[in-house]
Structures are given as structure tokens and as C-alpha cells.
């Protein structure tokens, strides 16, 4: 076969493409217009450029301080009537009283419990199904069409149905949190699992791993940080759905607390509870973020 090469032209360094094509004229072109080089921008406004520690912490403090400052100025100067925007002091006062009466803690725990049950159940169902969908094409074919459709049914639209089905106790609220998050979390988990590189799976087989071992020792650990990310996104939705459920019908919980404040025209209390809901959200987010950075140190 060594002689086979002689029948074809071999040009050292030559390129076969374009041989014999007519040469195009490139003379007579006007000079390209030159752009002025842009002035170097400050580090604060340059795209993706690290900023100093001081600038960073200042901006982070301002991010929280400014809205509160605006609130304080608007209510103290009575530009906005206190019926619309309660004074900052009154809000904290109301929050303090709610906390002292024990009502806040009861409501907070009632809401947290429902989120834990509803969303916990959703995680228990969605993560295994998501892993199946991302790992086996059969699993994907089986679940994807149904879940993709169910995802688009707005969960709050189920409230009346759940009230009929489950009564007015805990069950309809837990069911709402569950329905509103399970499909999203499944599809997001499936996406994460699908992103495990093919070659990593192949290599594991050549190291002697069996199918179950590939799933347990490669696919699951590789997906874990992404799964926690997906949980972080969806727990926010779970929290929001719960408050919706409590606003509609409940005797406990932070959502009910807001409704009750409305009945007594206690705008300051409403604001206080809203702040509490926000703080709880931040705490959950930070906790999950810490978990994520512990589990996924390697993924950075």
C-alpha cells in the first residue's frame, strides 16, 4: 500500500482547496475607517473586572440601607400617608409586639413546617424521577411529555380543587407547595443529570464499573451540586406558594397573619410580617448556599 501515495499529488504545505479558482481583485478598496480607542473605564464600570474589597462591601451595605433610608424619609416627612407606608419605627414596634406575644413564632413555625413537608415531599419525588429522566432515555420518554405539560398549569389554580379534595387543614397547603414545585424540580434535576459528560460514564465502564455503580458512584455525585442549586431555586417558589395558600384559607401561618392585619387595618404589622418572610428566605438561601459550597467544592 506504500505505493498508493504516488498516484495522488502530494504538495508539501500546499492546500488542495482553492486551486484553480479565479483570483479576486482587492485593489482600489478605500481604507477601513478607524475607530477611536475607547477611554479606559474605571474599575467599577468595566465589564467583569474585580473591584476593591471596600467598594464591594460599601455597595453591599448600600443595597440594603438605601431602600430603608428611602422608606424612612418618605414616611417621616409624611410625603406618603402612614396608611400606605407605615413609619419605620412603627413597623419594628409592631414586629416586636408580634414576636413578644408569641404569635409570630407560632405562625413562623406553622409556615416553615408546611414548606418542609410540601417541598420535602416534592424533593423526595422529583430527585429520583429527575435522575431517571436524565440517565435513561426510556425514563425521559416516559415522564418528559407529562411533566412538561403539568409544569405549565399554574399551581394557585389548584387551590379550589385542593380545598374540595383535602378540606381546609394542612393537606391542601402541603399539596399546593408540592404541586407547584415538583415538576420544575424534576425537569431541572433531569437537566443537571443530562450534563454528566458521556466520556466520564464511558471511562467508568472501562474501569470495571457496572451500570448501578456508574449511577451511584458517577452520575449521582457529579449531579449533586446542580441538584442542590435546583432545590435552592425551587424552595423560593415553595415559600411563595405557601403564603398564597395561607392567604386564601388558614388559621395559622405568616400568610394568615398578613390577612388578619389587613382586617384590622394594621399596615405596620403587614410590613413587619413581610420583612420576616424576606428574612426567612434569605436564611434558607444562605443555608443552601453553604451546603452547596461544602458538597460542591470541586465544582466551584
Amino acid at each position: 500500500m506504500t505505493g498508493g501515495s504516488t498516484s495522488r499529488p502530494v504538495q508539501a504545505g500546499g492546500v488542495a482547496v482553492g486551486r484553480g479558482a479565479p483570483r479576486l481583485e482587492r485593489s482600489g478598496w478605500p481604507a477601513l475607517p478607524r475607530r477611536r480607542v475607547s477611554r479606559p473605564s474605571s474599575r467599577l464600570t468595566a465589564i467583569r473586572t474585580p473591584i476593591s474589597r471596600r467598594a464591594r462591601s460599601t455597595l453591599m451595605v448600600l443595597s440594603l440601607l438605601l431602600p430603608f433610608l428611602a422608606w424612612w424619609v418618605l414616611s417621616a416627612t409624611a410625603v406618603v400617608p402612614p396608611k400606605v407606608l407605615p413609619p419605620l419605627g412603627a413597623t419594628f414596634e409592631a414586629g416586636w409586639q408580634l414576636a413578644m406575644s408569641g404569635e409570630l413564632l407560632t405562625d413562623l413555625w406553622a409556615s416553615t413546617e408546611r414548606v418542609l413537608y410540601g417541598f420535602g415531599l416534592a424533593v423526595l419525588v422529583s430527585v429520583p424521577i429527575g435522575i431517571l429522566m436524565g440517565t435513561f432515555l426510556a425514563g425521559e420518554a416516559l415522564f418528559e411529555p407529562l411533566f412538561a405539560m403539568l409544569r405549565y398549569l399554574p399551581a394557585p389554580a389548584f387551590i379550589p380543587l385542593f380545598l374540595v379534595w383535602f378540606g381546609i387543614d394542612e393537606a391542601p397547603k402541603i399539596a399546593l407547595v408540592f404541586t407547584g414545585t415538583v415538576f420544575f424540580n424534576t425537569l431541572m434535576t433531569a437537566d443537571v443529570v443530562r450534563s454528566v459528560p458521556r466520556e466520564l460514564i464511558d471511562v467508568s465502564y472501562t474501569l470495571g464499573a457496572r451500570r448501578g455503580e456508574v449511577l451511584r458512584k458517577v452520575i449521582v455525585p457529579h449531579s449533586l451540586p446542580g441538584i442542590i442549586d435546583s432545590i435552592r431555586v425551587n424552595i423560593a417558589a415553595a415559600w411563595a406558594l405557601l403564603v398564597v395558600a395561607e392567604v386564601v384559607s388558614s388559621t395559622t401561618g405568616l400568610g394568615r397573619s398578613i390577612m388578619q392585619s389587613q382586617r384590622f387595618q394594621r399596615i405596620d404589622e403587614m410590613f413587619a410580617v413581610l420583612l420576616v418572610i424576606g428574612v426567612v428566605g434569605v436564611v434558607m438561601d444562605v443555608a443552601l448556599r453553604l451546603l452547596r459550597s461544602r458538597v460542591g467544592r470541586w465544582a466551584a
Binding site: 500500500m1 506504500t2 498508493g4 501515495s5 495522488r8 499529488p9 502530494v10 488542495a16 482547496v17 459528560p197 466520556e199 466520564l200 464511558d202 471511562v203 467508568s204 465502564y205 472501562t206 474501569l207 470495571g208 464499573a209 455503580e213 458512584k217 458517577v218 455525585p221 457529579h222 460542591g296 467544592r297 470541586w298 465544582a299 466551584a300
Partner: protein
Amino acid sequence: MNGDMNTDRNTDAVNEKWAAAERAERTERAERVLELRGVGKDFRVRGRTVTALDGVDLRVSRGEFVCVVGASGSGKSTLLSLVAGLAAPTRGEITLDGAPVTGPGPDRGLVFQSASLYPWRTVERNVAFGLELLRLSKAERARRVDWYLAETGLAGLRNSLPGQLSGGQRQRVAIARALVCEPEVLLLDEPFGALDVQTKEDMQLLIRQVWQDTGTTVLMVTHDVEEAVFLGQRVVVLACDPGRVAAELAVPLPAERDLASKRTHAFLELRAELEDQVRAQHYGTAETDGATR
């Protein structure tokens, strides 16, 4: 009378020859670790059948270092994935130690261009992966892992995560991880293709050293002809479209090679000859491409 005696003697000589040939063939068969006979692979691409490989015959003897070169599109990687058992050939047969290859296994260690390490496992635990599956005792596992870490120059990095390693270091881990399972054949799929020239040369010296120390059979795919000549005892040239064996050359260089070997006359001659071969096959497809479009 005289003629009869001669005939007898001749028959004896012939029998002797036959017996010797048979012995030789038997030992040769025993020495033959990997054998591909008429191997072909088709893919279905948007309803069209594309033949990636066709009629590939290849024999690799125990302890041999064989390099497969070819332009992109010659089915080099497909060839390795068939040998690894990650895909099944459409035609032909692949045998390892006489037994047909039916799926992937630790007797054929594989190293990809993108080291494909487990990013959550330390270097040490990446290398230990295959042994963990075998449920060896901790001490036995550690002893073996330590040997391969030392062999590949990774002893100081045992607790690092893959994300903290350079490209060359990552490939070392991938090689150690495959070798610790003591494969019959080590399959290398363009393992140094993404490395800078200096690191690449370090790795070439490393893989030669490891090959000599462990006596492992190596089948390596590369597009780098120089690398193939430097590493291989035998170089197989694949033609494109469909991928098939176009030529096979023994590398008559001494077993002891260092980077200076790359400048010797014999090396440069061989390299030039192979480069012409590969280029001819590459142009071959360029021309047919032009004709069909």
C-alpha cells in the same frame, strides 16, 4: 535406492519444517493479545448510513506499542471505542486473548484526550476507583495506588482535586487510573492532543517509561505522526471515508529512545514517509468530497 533415501530425508525435513511452523504459529497466536478481523462500523446519520470503518484487520502482540495515525475523519476514535467495547462493530470480529469483545471492561483501560477525571475525587481516589470496585483490602489498594502514583510522578499531588491540576497532570492521573486495573491493553485516544509541546514531550517520555516498566500492551490513536513514530514499535495508517488500514510500518528504531532520537536521520525519514501517507489519504477525501458536491 539413492533417490528413495533422498526422498525420505526430504520428507523428514519437510515435516520438521511444518512442525516448526506450527509451533511458531501457536506461540504467535498466544502472543497475539488483540485481534481485529474485517471490522466495520456504520452510523445512521439523519436517515443516511455513514460507514466510519470498513474491513479493518489489526493484530497487536503482547507487550507491543502500536500507534494508529490518520487524518480527522478516518475513524481513529471509533476504532478505539470498538476495541474498548463502548460500541459494537457492524461487521467483523474483535477478540481479546481469543475471546470476543462484547462490552467494556477493566481489561482494556481507556484514556481520552480530555482526561475525564472524577472532579469530586482527589488524585489518589481517582486512581483508586477501579480497585474500590474490586473490594480489595485497604492496605492492598493503597499499596497499588502508591506504586502507580510514584510511577506517574503524582506522589506529591495525591490530595489535590482535578480542578487544581494542569493538563499534563490530569493526563497522568488518567493513565495511572487505567493502569492500576492492570489492563491487557491500554487504549490511548489522542491522550496528549490538547497539551502544549513541552508538556507533550514530557508525557511521551512518561508513557514510554511506564510501558517499559509495566510491559503493558499499548494501542494509541493520534493524528501526530512524530508522536506515533517516537512512541510506536509499529505505526498503522488509516485512510478516510471509510476508515480502513492504508499502510502499516514497523519502526526500526532502537528500543531506547530519548528526545534526541527525534533528530536522527532514520527518525526523520520515517516521519516524512508516514506524513506523506497520511496526507495522501487526507487529500484523497478532499478530492472525493469535491467530486460528490
